[in-house]
Subunit: 623 residues, 2 copies
């Protein structure tokens, strides 16, 4: 293990052995390291040179972390492990139909190198030599020039690095693989191998001689566990349907001829190779790669097999024993009436929202959305009888299955048919989720309304509600000082006095009205237009319209410096009061300061109430 990976894996107290998973894998490695049973493959001299003491275990998680113990960086030839991945490539490259016509998917009940074919003259499955040679033949038929390079590239994408070939092993297999040559000619005879037999076989011999490490196998397994996305590189290597088919064949014919027993007892799709490697994959959990050259009578790595079995048993890891939960996909579920956007609004706007905002519902979604999650989402809005707008926030969604997308599409149609709208917020640009939306909502009229973040979507929904009810009309001409919340309850003569100090300032769209870090020397009352308060990072804290103020924190201790930028979102007119003038007014009548401070307390207390409501929603067990 490299120093870098030690550092990366450092446990809570800086000690690598102290991550629970590594502690277990170390224990597992020690437990079986002393087991010297089995024999290194000797049918070609090159394989027999392997060190029988080598033993490595790697576990790659679906978020791309790789735990490694022992000899996980020793290269060895992939051999039969390649069969599963070349089968996947064939499904991707030549399509499921042609693959099905050529190779079956039933366990054979015979040895891996049997020359027998099924009753329909197809090889039983792609995990026996006959099926694997036929599969490689399919690749070769469709790309005679670059078939092997295609295989090498695809397996490399699964492993997350370029793979080399062991030329000595390749040459030896090529020169001595007479039985495989016999199988290939039998396939040719039955028209299950239609291309040049020697050239197709050459692809097969080369693919078996690709060099991998236990770590590579773990990442390859994790790529299958992640629906075809390599979790280390983040790249899409194959389609989810291909993954399901490949894992199915690994389950029914991957490790043993006893398909039922393997799924019953271990419950993890796996494939072994005579080079000493085993790959296993637990969907949506991890990929596992082991390397240890001594093989049992069936040709499986002894230590690797025991490690797989113990890991499965120790952690009760069976693909059918999966804990699921729907409610945690909905982090928060509320109506606009209960939690508002971060736009500060004029009291008349707020009154309208209080009355009508129950016509908009927001669901903040999270995690990987499967079929059941979208059904749960649609049931969550079932009680809304007069839903005008449904906002679904995807900021924390990490994946969406095609079944979930199918249900979502139907939901969007249903809401639209009833005269409502679906608004989608928070989809990351260039993400797979964005891609899924583009594919599924390709027709212009079907599209939901997109916003880059939830707050924008909420502001838009609020604006719709206010606008439809004529709520913007009376403030479109601008709001004067007496409607400002910070100045409520002041005597008319005080307001008149403040007016003598006020400067009217206009800003064009995009102007930076306040810069973070500058000295706070005035308070701004918005008369017309809209402004946003933003952190230097670009994160928007809130937006303000007529009747609200900003810069007011200057009135508090510690408010001498501006803490955020304020930007004009539209042409803005502000009524500006300098702190010097404010002090002058207060000095004349101390009651003025007391009233304004009281108003400020009330303003901040109202924001606190909103914030606490949001926290309560986000932390409630039912979203």
């Amino acid at each position: 293990m490299t120093a870098a990976s030690q550092l990366r894996d450092a446990g809570p107290f800086g000690d690598i052995t102290k991550l629970p998973m590594l502690r277990f894998l170390n224990e597992c490695q020690r437990k079986y390291a002393d087991d010297h049973s089995g024999h290194v493959a000797d049918y070609i001299p090159e394989l027999f040179k392997a060190n029988p003491n080598h033993f490595g275990i790697a576990l790659a998680t679906i978020d791309g972390h790789v735990h490694e113990v022992g000899d996980t960086s020793i290269p060895f030839t992939i051999q039969s492990v390649s069969k599963a991945f070349v089968f996947a490539l064939a499904l991707e490259f030549v399509g499921a139909e042609e693959v099905s016509a050529t190779v079956g998917v039933e366990p054979s009940g015979e040895a891996f190198n049997s020359i027998r074919l099924g009753n329909d003259n197809r090889p039983f499955n792609p995990m026996v030599n006959a099926g694997a040679i036929a599969t490689s033949g399919l690749i070769h038929r469709h790309d005679p020039e670059a078939a092997f390079e295609r295989v090498r590239e695809f397996l490399g994408q699964c492993a997350g690095r370029d793979l080399d070939i062991d030329m000595k092993v390749y040459e030896s297999e090529r020169d001595t693989g007479h039985r495989n040559r016999a199988i290939a000619w039998l396939l040719r005879n039955n028209e299950k191998l239609s291309s040049d037999v020697d050239a197709a076989l050459d692809v097969y011999f080369r693919q078996c001689s690709l060099l991998v490490t236990a770590r590579d196998l773990a990442v390859m397994g994790a790529t299958l566990a992640c629906n075809g996305i390599n979790p280390v590189t983040g790249k899409v290597v194959m389609q989810p349907g291909t993954v399901a088919k490949t894992l199915s064949v690994m389950v029914s014919a991957g490790m043993y001829d006893f398909a039922g027993e393997w799924i019953f007892r271990v419950g993890m799709p796996a494939k072994s190779g005579v080079g000493g490697g085993i790959v296993a994959s637990l969907p949506a959990q991890f990929g596992l790669g082991t390397f240890s050259p001594p093989l049992d009578a069936q040709g499986n790595s002894v230590r690797g097999l025991r490690a797989c079995e113990w890991i499965s048993e120790h952690f009760a890891l069976h693909m059918m024993q999966r804990y699921g939960d729907l409610s945690s996909n909905v982090v928060a579920n509320y109506q606009l009436a209960h939690i508002a956007s971060r736009r500060s609004r004029h009291p008349s706007e707020r009154a309208l929202l209080d009355k009508h905002a129950s016509s908009a519902r927001i669901l903040e979604l999270a995690g990987a959305l499967n079929f059941g999650s979208l059904d749960y989402v649609s049931r969550a809005i079932a009680q809304d009888q007069a839903l005008e707008m449904l906002i679904l926030d995807f900021s924390r969604v990490t994946a969406i299955s095609s079944g979930a997308m199918t249900l979502l599409k139907s939901l969007v149609t249903i809401v639209k048919e009833a005269g409502g709208r679906v608004i989608i917020s928070g989809i990351k640009p260039q993400s797979l989720i964005e891609q899924a939306f583009e594919t599924n909502f390709a027709v212009e009229g079907d599209k939901p309304i997109y916003f880059s973040n939830l707050d924008d979507a909420m502001i838009w929904a609020e604006d719709q509600i206010i606008f439809r009810r004529g709520g913007f009309e009376h403030i479109s001409e601008g709001v004067d000082l007496e409607e400002q919340e910070l100045l409520l309850n002041l005597k008319p003569e005080t307001l008149d006095e403040i007016r003598t100090f006020i400067r009217e300032e206009t800003f064009r769209t995009g102007a930076k009205i306040i810069e973070a870090g500058s000295t706070a020397d005035s308070i701004f009352f918005v008369q017309k237009g809209m402004v946003s308060i933003k952190l230097a990072s670009g994160t928007r804290l809130s937006t303000l319209g007529p009747g609200t103020c900003f810069g007011e924190l200057a009135l508090l201790p510690g408010g001498a410096t501006r803490s955020a930028d304020v930007i004009a979102d539209t042409p803005v007119t502000c009524l500006t009061l300098s702190l010097t003038d404010y002090e002058a007014v207060c000095r004349k009548d101390a009651a003025v300061r007391a009233i304004i401070m009281g108003n400020l307390s009330a303003l901040v207390a109202e924001r606190l109430k909103q914030a606490n409501a949001k926290i309560a929603t986000l932390t409630s067990p039912n979203g």
Copy 2:
């Protein structure tokens, strides 16, 4: 469908057909209703009486909702569907070892009623008649008196209601089931049936004659999809290991003799019966039940099979094609230094916390925790080099797998070995999660520290940090007015004046100092002891210690009525100032009100800052 279930299923606009799932199931039902191929089972007259037009589909989700279309409440005999569930019962009741000795788990490649046994004289698997009879025989061997009642009760628990038996079908099967009788005697001959052959067969005939509906089958399938918990009743029916084994056998031998093809193409464990029923189960997603009497040549319901296949295809539902995500199990991840508990603290305590609270980390967990989730959690704390306390909040955790528990146990040990502590909060009393903790942390010394809610755990952790550094010593004698935040910056003579109005009040533990709804007529400064601010519901909003005040919202507009209860957590001494006296002081010097209002704004602004930090953590994509 009943009126009640229509109401329960009402869509976004009150129309039942408008839930996406129901719309699809209705479409599916209509699509195949006109398919009249297949023949109603006629080997006994009773079965042939079934109405060939009956067709119902039910889908039960893992949160216990049942979608139903068509004839989902028509009772029919369960027949071979019972085999899967009686196999599960045998695993639970007589144990996996004895079951394995009696029945194999391999697909047979022969018809369901074959009289052939495997080479080891075991029936091939429990889904063929021979295996099912042997399985029922096992139940009978261990409970000769009540074997059938045990079966009926177990299947009823899976369905969520008591199941009746169709006596006519039972009697007919008993009197004409000669082939099954032959199979039973062959099993007896091979010592795979050791009890009274007729009595064991009687259990088998009765179990096949139990009456179920499509809805029942959906719930039974969902019980398997939920690791053995019936999602409608919430009751634990079987252990997760039993579920994995049962579903494995359904995959490899449930529907067809072509095990590889079924898993490859449909990828859903399923079992059919000649009564016209099919049950299917997708782990962690749903259970599906269909009913339609006409059967194909293999004895599977024609319409049911097509419905299963179309649902699987339409939504890409393959058990190996599962989208997972680890990050959404960690809703929030922060140090005490960044987000504090809801205890208001004296500035000197807060200074200590600011300095040292990085030694405590909080992870708020959510959803179903699988193996990978706990590895993710342990990696999330890997950067902490000096972790004294790790708080894991389980309030929103809905399930924990045994593999996740195994890793958690190891993590607790590792943190403890390094001198740290693990604190667990939010486990619901009498929940399965509580049970899992009790089982796994049975030894006194191994136990983590439990708190019923996260805030209590955070307060305890903060107290530890302050206490270890002597931070409570100087405030244990009580805090006087000049240290009160609300009164900062007042002139000494003003404080003296306030002191003349102050009443010192003491309260015993548990006393209600303020009652929600009462008139707000005073402000309380805590001098000694602790109080909690609570809603009438019992939810605690915050706790306060010496140097902080409560009732201060009375100073704001709208504060005339108390909004929450305040309870003494310990013996408490307060310095109480009535609003009348406060007004008197302010009237004398208006600057006093301005200063106090400024302090109040600052206090509330600080709370708002904390609340916004919490929201930012809860809504950040990485928890």
